[in-house]
């Protein structure tokens, strides 16, 4: 469904590549977590799938298309097969929930009766039945994300991309969103989700692709989030906490009683 063949992406010439020789193959119907620290290349990965960017080297295939060589006027056709969800929901504040979801169909020219039938159905599916007339500001964060998911899947995309969809939500609400994404995945939609949420990753036990500095460092079928540095490493009574990762132990100062 999504295939990266030795993909590299360099934003500024000479700088460290955002993605470096990445090869990943996502099958139809898979649920994949994309994990890694900020700046590890997760967002670049997703934007290459969406063809917001073109790879510097290598090939990206999405739903059978060579995305890198896709001409500009075919890009909309590609994106109609993709759904995207973001951390910040990106709902249009001046439109109701129903209008927000309908918007995605209107702008690709779907006939009115299709919109009238589909939108309530999808709102029902994401658990927003009866809330179509609310404005986004009248919804909780979880509900807003549900509305955003509804908008992403209303055109029945083959692939759903989620960029930290639970990043702005509390753990309980996140759980609900994950159940929803899981349910969407079970209908056959391929889901790729970039996340920092180790609890979710550990609990779901799905395929995990870990990126670090633009390189795939781990690709596990039923993986967990992976090792994480302790928040307060055992550095002793150091007056200054070092930056994470630099892990040098501060010399322990002992005060001897005179």
């Amino acid at each position: 469904m999504i295939r990266f063949e030795n993909v590299s992406k360099v934003y500024t010439r000479g700088a460290r590549p955002a993605l470096d020789q990445v090869s990943v193959d996502v099958e139809r119907g898979e649920f994949v977590f994309l994990v890694g620290a900020s700046g590890s290349g997760k967002s670049t990965f997703l934007s290459l799938v969406l063809r917001e960017q073109r790879p510097t080297r290598g090939r990206v295939y999405v739903a059978g298309r060579d995305v890198a060589n896709l001409s500009a006027w075919r890009v909309p056709t590609l994106r109609r097969q993709l759904g995207v969800v973001f951390q910040d929901f990106r709902l249009l504040q001046n439109k109701t929930v129903h209008e927000n979801v309908a918007f995605a169909l209107q702008v690709i020219g779907k006939p009115r009766h299709v919109i009238r039938d589909t939108v309530p159905e999808v709102l029902d599916m994401v658990g927003l039945a009866g809330k179509g007339k609310r404005m986004p500001t009248e919804l909780s964060g979880g509900e807003q994300q549900r509305a955003a998911i509804a908008r992403a899947i209303v055109n029945r995309p083959q692939i759903l991309l989620a960029d930290e969809p639970t990043g702005n939500l509390d753990p309980t609400t996140s759980l609900g969103i994950m159940r929803l994404l899981d349910r969407i995945n079970r209908t056959g939609t391929t889901v790729v989700m970039a996340t920092h949420d180790d609890e979710i990753v550990n609990e779901m036990r799905r395929r995990v692709v870990e990126l670090s500095d633009g390189v795939v460092v781990r690709d596990e079928a039923r993986g967990g989030y992976g090792e994480r540095e302790a928040i307060l490493p055992d550095v002793g009574a150091s007056p200054v906490l070092d930056a994470p990762g630099s892990g040098t132990r501060a010399p322990v100062q002992t005060v001897r009683g005179g």
Partner: protein, 303 residues
């Protein structure tokens, strides 16, 4: 569905940007009024030329008694000289000259007396003071230079005069006015293009979220850009209609109702001419908006 949706987007865009849109309308209005005024001035010149050039002719004044012109050294033009000139007109200038007639001194005096029955500036002239001439009607009034070249310097011809020259100062004035209007129109049109560009840019920025979503869900480029295009075009067309209306009113009340009544021997531009110019103004407005959009849109609503 699509149409209605696009229309809704256009209207909401116009509402959101009211002040800018009003500015675009006014600037296109003023600039296209100048364009239209220039066009109407040219139409007026054309009308005057049509009207007057038919009335005027080329006069070949024949040597009178006592002329100091070198071609008149032999005194008053003799019949053989006149015949020779006519011969040339009939042969060499047969394609340029459509009609020739001879105005004798007596005829010239009659015409003069009719025009100035009480004498000219206190002097009483006699038939003897008149000058015989050949009056030529040209098949194409623009050919005067050729005719003048051929006939000037012949024996018995004192001077070849193009009576159109009388109108030249007027036409020159009107042409200068046209240039002035066109120049102002150029400056205003530039302002209009810049303003439309800014309006589209503002509109695009204020709707960045919408266009972002549209891109992501796979709306086509045209569909994303159409509302902006239409917004600019609509404002510009509105301005051009105002310009057309303004010109129509100006011609109706200033020319037809007032000028035509006070100075009635001149052919003036009429409302019909305005109707002929107005579509051009609308087309210009659309072209203007298209130009501005072309430079703006690709930068602000990129896929």
């Amino acid at each position: 569905m699509r149409f209605q949706f696009v229309l809704g987007e256009v209207l909401s865009g116009l509402r959101r940007n009211t002040t800018m849109v009003v500015a675009v309308v006014l600037v296109t209005f003023v600039s296209l009024t100048f364009v239209g005024a220039a066009a109407l001035l040219q139409a007026q010149i054309g009308k005057l030329k049509d009207d007057w050039y038919d009335l005027v002719e080329v006069s070949v004044f024949l040597c009178p008694q006592g002329s100091v012109s070198p071609t008149c050294a032999t005194g008053e033009a003799t019949q053989p000289q006149i015949d020779a000139v006519r011969q040339i007109i009939d042969t060499e200038l047969s394609s340029e000259v459509s009609k020739v007639y001879f105005e004798s001194k007596a005829q010239a005096f009659d015409a003069f007396s009719e025009r100035y029955p009480d004498g000219y500036q206190g002097t009483q002239l006699t038939e003897k003071d008149m000058q015989a001439s050949l009056r030529l009607k040209l098949s194409d009034a623009e050919q005067f230079a050729v005719v003048s070249d051929v006939l000037s310097g012949r024996d018995g011809v004192e001077i070849v005069e193009d009576q159109r020259a009388v109108f030249e100062p007027l036409f020159r004035t009107l042409n200068v006015a046209t240039l002035l209007a066109a120049g102002l129109a150029g400056v205003m049109l530039l302002a209009a293009v810049l303003l439309i560009t800014t309006t589209i840019r503002l509109s695009a920025v204020s709707r960045r979220k919408e266009t972002e979503i549209m891109r992501l869900v796979g709306a086509s480029n045209l569909f994303i850009q159409l509302p902006f295009l239409l917004e600019g075009a609509l404002a510009a067309v509105l301005g051009s209609l105002l310009a057309g209306g303004g010109l129509w009113l100006a011609v109706r009340f200033m020319v037809s109702d007032w000028l035509e009544r006070s100075v009635d021997w001149v052919a003036y531009v009429s409302e019909v001419d305005v109707l002929r110019v107005a579509p051009l103004l609308v087309i210009m407005a659309v072209a203007l908006a298209a130009l501005a959009s072309f430079f703006t849109l690709n930068r602000y609503t990129r896929i």
